[in-house]
Amino acid sequence: MTAEKILTRNFARADSHTLKAYLETGGYTAWQKAQTLPPAEITEEVKQSNLRGLGGAGFPTGTKWSFIPKSHGGPVYLVINADEGEPGTFKDRYLLERDPHAVIEGMLIAARAIRSATGFVYVRGEYVEPYRRFATAVSEAYDAGYLGKGFDVVVHRGAGAYICGEETGLISSLEGKKGWPKLKPPFPAIKGAFGAPTIVNNVETICHVPHIIARGAAWFAALGTKTQGGTRMYSVSGRVTRPGVYEASVAITLRQLVYDLAGGVTGNGRLKAVVPGGSSAAILRGDEIDVTMDVDGLRNAGTMAGSAGVIVMDETVSIPEALMVVARFYAHESCGQCTPCRESTGWIYKMVRRIVEGRGRKDDLDTILDVARRGAGTTICAFYDGAVGPYVSYIEKFRAEFEALIPR
């Protein structure tokens, strides 16, 4: 189940971030091959591989690329979302720091497929070291002639705002504005950055592309499930013996991930709950972890694969307190554009907080559930729906624990 290491295969090398190391391990040979393929064939190969976006939404990557208008005569942009910020996720940091040339090679191939001459890599502002590592790799790629011959890469630093990880918020931010998401349609593939057709791909997603081109769609698809190919990098944290990044098939189960790879549960050793896909994913009880981690497997389990940030809680963890921390995050990070999100995230945080502090009112739990559900699906972007996941699931699955804190 742990499969072959693909994205993380060079992580053990101290110099894995250098062009020298990348070339020694077969780097840029997929780009050589891609240059012999017609763009449409590259997109078709990625489609057949069943690669799905690994930043959170899980959208089929090849299908996304195919949305770029064929007849478009103006510029097309490729934007890499390195604004990693989903609580519990830290995989893209590893890729930027330890295998930056994989990002660049993936970009070169994707740019050929969508006929883009310019790529932007939006790195979260706090990632200073990953930014430097990546910018150095870009300089190396220019010096070696991989970049600057029909495709240029601009590395762009964000300035601290979770919402900029949402693809249209990222585009607004890249354009020099506050990171407000935009109403879709039009989707970025039709009208994205600077008004031009734009593909936004996550760092980890783009790193898979060279391997798909080098080894074929069938090989990649066979690593996963019927509807999602490949491996992915799971970020495992919280109460586990060995927190860290683990690359495994998308078909691994949550139980295997927590017990076999991360070494099992610490604290009192008894599993209470797991967040499987970053904080926006609905929580699972300890007895709900026999599910596969692919996009559809977790969707069928009532939660989501998201960014594969797995946060483990043992029985000593207070679920109401955990929800308070999560609710504080959504209240702080709501961009303020849509009324239901702006108002509800603050209000719900206040209610959860007073419950935790022993000042809860007897109808608070029902009010939270009501407020949460009414707002779902009414906003411009998926941020609020992502907040509703934890609000509703924490309370529904651990209601007695909340009720015990509310004075009678």
Binding site: V128, K177, F194, S279
Partner: protein, 171 residues
């Protein structure tokens, strides 16, 4: 103690708000990287903060003029992001992650320890201007919880003892 929203008229008046010739060349280079030069606003604001210490209203107006934008537009951008300071900050920024994984690993205890050691609350700066203390959302290094960012560096696996050693290194 100076709160994050406090102002310091003396500092403001004494700092001339103008880039050097070299920095202006860098501004033009950055503006030329994008199809629309306005896209260089965040990079230039980062440069402005490095240069002037924080992004005052005067800095906002100066940067706005470099882009032919209104000061109001720049103000809207500056206030949207957490990494831009609108008041003088300490020589070092200590930002403790308080999100879920760090919380589970004892972040509240780390924040309490820092408040005691520095004698300030979250959001404040020490009287000697050495350290500004912050409590921030997920920095995406949850495998090393509890963690914090000290200026450009991530510091992992914090304990009160480790925090003390890190503080000693900040001048």
């Amino acid at each position: 103690m100076r709160g994050q929203d406090g102002t310091d008229a003396a500092t403001r008046a004494s700092t001339p708000v103008a880039f050097s010739v070299e920095q202006l060349a860098e501004v033009h280079r950055l503006q030329g990287l994008y199809p629309d030069r306005r896209a260089a606003l965040l990079p230039v604001l980062h440069l402005a903060q490095e240069t002037f210490g924080y992004v005052s209203l005067e800095v906002e107006a100066y940067v706005a003029a470099l882009f032919d934008l209104t000061p109001a537009h720049v103000h809207e951008v500056v206030t949207f992001y957490t990494l831009f300071f609108r008041a003088p900050k300490g020589r070092h920024i200590v930002a403790v992650c308080h999100n879920l994984s760090c919380h589970l690993a004892g972040a509240p205890m780390i924040v309490a320890h820092l408040r005691r050691r520095l004698g300030i609350d979250v959001g404040e700066t020490t009287d000697d201007g050495r350290v500004t203390l912050q409590s921030v959302e997920c920095l995406c290094a949850c495998e090393h919880a509890p963690m914090m960012q000290v200026d450009d560096r991530y510091e992992f696996g914090l304990t009160p003892e480790k925090v003390d050693r890190i503080l000693e290194g900040l001048r």
